[in-house]
Symmetry: C2
Subunit: 415 residues, 2 copies
């Protein structure tokens, strides 16, 4: 491959890198983890990125959730371009609800797929297997792509994942699904692939298990951030250019007594407008319910019986202290560049210290007890760091830019 | 002038219109005023724009205040481009605080100025005179530009404003500074100039006196919206293409007992970090204090003695229920495309139902009593309508756009 080659995805060009390039998505990477880590000396390598590489705050896509943002990162575009604006949907055509478990809802190609087609060796490693089956779109092991998850490391096959016997190879057992080590495993696998020169472009995407439970400066968060930082330093030492961002931030949503602060919106709307048949869809809902009990900061409301009250409902929701913003589905799609065909009749976004759920009987809060309840999905979790191990080259047109986390491949390969 | 001529401002081209074109900025145009107006039949002309013209929700620039957004609208660019990111500043070089009262803080040109240089006859009419002196940048009465305010309509001179004897000409006395009629006067003047063929491009920017006091669907708001809508219909009937947006939205920030919900942040920070010398600057502060008591949803914190605690302060502010988001000044500038040289050490954004002030003794709340306290400045007031009297022409590349209020001149002249 030559340095002048490039690929184009959703209208943006990406130069094919001539050196190993690692893009890391730290799940739940609230800027406060970075600022605390740098200030307290917990993350010396990331502190070096901030000081002598490139750092800016950036916005993630709304809703501030894992699937939409991972897809935006590997396509360099908002959700309207790739179609994935949640983990969980109500299909307006069939009326059925479904969880996104693979790439069948995705529109178009990805940067990883286009690179692979040009002969670039891709390694895409996820913490959670649910995400592996979404981001592996178009990645063929025939072309040498490696794509597996830490969660199912012990099930990898050469045919499906481009790698096998991962536990033996890495010298580590598959980590527990609910652990910080699930993320560190991803980074360790990336390091080893780099050491063995088995890939050119790496996408390493982690889990937010730690961030959901532990605030910045807690012992657990510090330990995790130190391990993360150490691995990032290792990747730099091995000669890679490293770019880092987050899929979303994280906010505490616990009251003084330690209970989750939750608005059960479907119950409320059903009581007030029984004739509307309001169904609240929580797009944070995924197979990792222990993280958050399917409670986040962003919900879609579908009016299954009558939509005549939608404007009145939007106005009403805006008056609730648990709500930061409410819009008709069309307005929300326009504001947040989301695909309008997957929107509800109304979108409701929680205030920073609240989560929004559907019916109380649908959410299992038992797993949230005994620690702080922290989650995401709303506007207050939109800020994430955007970092690179080296400064952007001269001539980078960055003065007027509103940075997004989905610019991370752009800063990784284009400057 | 020919149809193929265009001007360029901050990298975007604007075609010189071949028919009368009116851009209206409705101050405090929360989307709920539009949705209630359309639903209740109060705003039939705007309802026609929504149905058979062009309508989308759009985001205003942060902070969601009048000066920054008016400058963004007439430059088609974020505040980083034109430099006006508040009504009130602490100058970091001199250490002095000052109110923006003219265009001396502005960087670069405006769309109005560039049109005027090409021979387009501009009429820029503001409700408040403070805004007139900001947006008249580069508008020369020698070239036929008309630029005056309703507030000082009785003081207009041919030399300074391009028009004189406005009261006699319009057959109306100068309206009270604190009134909805201040806005309607602006529209009436625009209509008359159009009838008399005295301008080609109109920028009519209103006052949010009504919106600060009265919620959508109140008698006062309905009356104002009906008058506004009737004037917009008149402009359309006269053959103009009309595009409408808002400078910001508006949220209620009153508690159950009817008192303003305010966090006095400087008092709090001084108590907690006396060594830091925290000074809270409220960029909503202007000469129209009866509207809001200088209380909005966005403040800048300058640490005059020591900046060592800024990360800790950001973290602390994030824990406050009155706060929706807090960032270092640099992060906020990156997130919201604001000029970093005018940022504080920290930016704090209020939750939807709260305002943030500096010291309690600096704010006069007496004018806010006796009615609901409604204000803006934060993220919850970022959504505004973006409307055009006619649909965008075929071939308009709008599918993937994140609309901003400062796209209003683009939609007015380019499609």
């Amino acid at each position: 491959m030559t340095s002048t080659q490039s690929v184009t995805v959703h209208g943006r060009d990406y130069l094919i890198p001539t050196r190993p390039t690692v893009v890391i998505c730290v799940d739940g990477f609230d800027p406060s983890y970075l600022s605390a880590g740098c200030e307290d000396g917990i993350t010396p390598n990331l502190a070096t990125f901030v000081k002598s590489g490139f750092y800016t705050a950036a916005k993630c896509v709304m809703p501030s959730l894992t699937n939409p943002n991972n897809m935006s990162i590997i396509t360099g575009a908002p959700t309207r371009a790739h179609g994935v604006s949640g983990n969980y949907y109500l299909d307006k055509v069939t009326g059925k609800e479904h969880m996104i478990l693979d790439d069948s809802s995705t529109i178009g190609t990805t940067i990883l797929e286009q690179f692979a087609k040009k002969g670039v060796r891709i390694a895409a490693i996820t913490a959670k297997d649910k995400l592996r089956r979404i981001i592996n779109r178009g990645l063929s092991t025939d072309r040498g792509a490696i794509c597996f998850s830490a969660q199912r490391a012990n099930e990898c096959t050469r045919e499906e994942h481009g790698i096998k016997d991962v536990e033996t190879w890495l010298g580590r057992p598959t980590p527990p699904q609910y652990s910080g080590d699930l993320s560190i495993f991803v980074l360790d696998a990336g390091i080893k692939l780099l050491q063995e020169n088995r890939a050119d472009v790496f996408y390493l995407t982690l889990s937010d298990w730690i961030q959901h439970k532990y605030a910045p400066r807690s012992t657990e968060a510090n330990e995790f951030m130190a391990q993360l930082d150490q691995r990032i330093g290792e990747l730099v030492k091995l000669g890679a250019l490293v770019a880092v961002t987050g899929d979303h931030g994280m906010s505490d949503k616990t009251d003084e007594a330690g209970n989750p602060r939750v608005l059960f919106l479907e119950d409320l709307l059903q009581e007030k407008w029984p004739e509307a048949g309001a169904r609240v869809i929580c797009p944070i809902n995924d197979t990792f319910t222990k993280h958050h009990g399917a409670l986040g900061g962003f919900v879609r409301v579908h009016l299954l019986k009558s939509t005549v009250n939608v404007v009145e409902m939007v106005e009403y929701c805006r008056t609730l202290p648990e709500v930061e913003a409410a819009y008709t589905g069309e307005d929300a799609a326009a504001l947040f560049e989301m695909p309008v065909d997957r929107e509800g009749d109304m979108v409701v976004i929680a205030s920073k210290n609240f989560a929004i759920g559907g019916r109380k009987d649908e959410h299992d809060l038992s797993e949230l007890m005994g620690h702080r309840f922290r989650t995401h999905g709303g506007l207050s979790e939109q800020a994430v760091p955007l970092l690179r191990s080296e400064p952007l080259g001269a001539g980078a047109d960055i003065a007027g830019r509103a940075w997004r986390n989905f610019d991370v491949f752009d800063i990784a390969v284009n400057y």
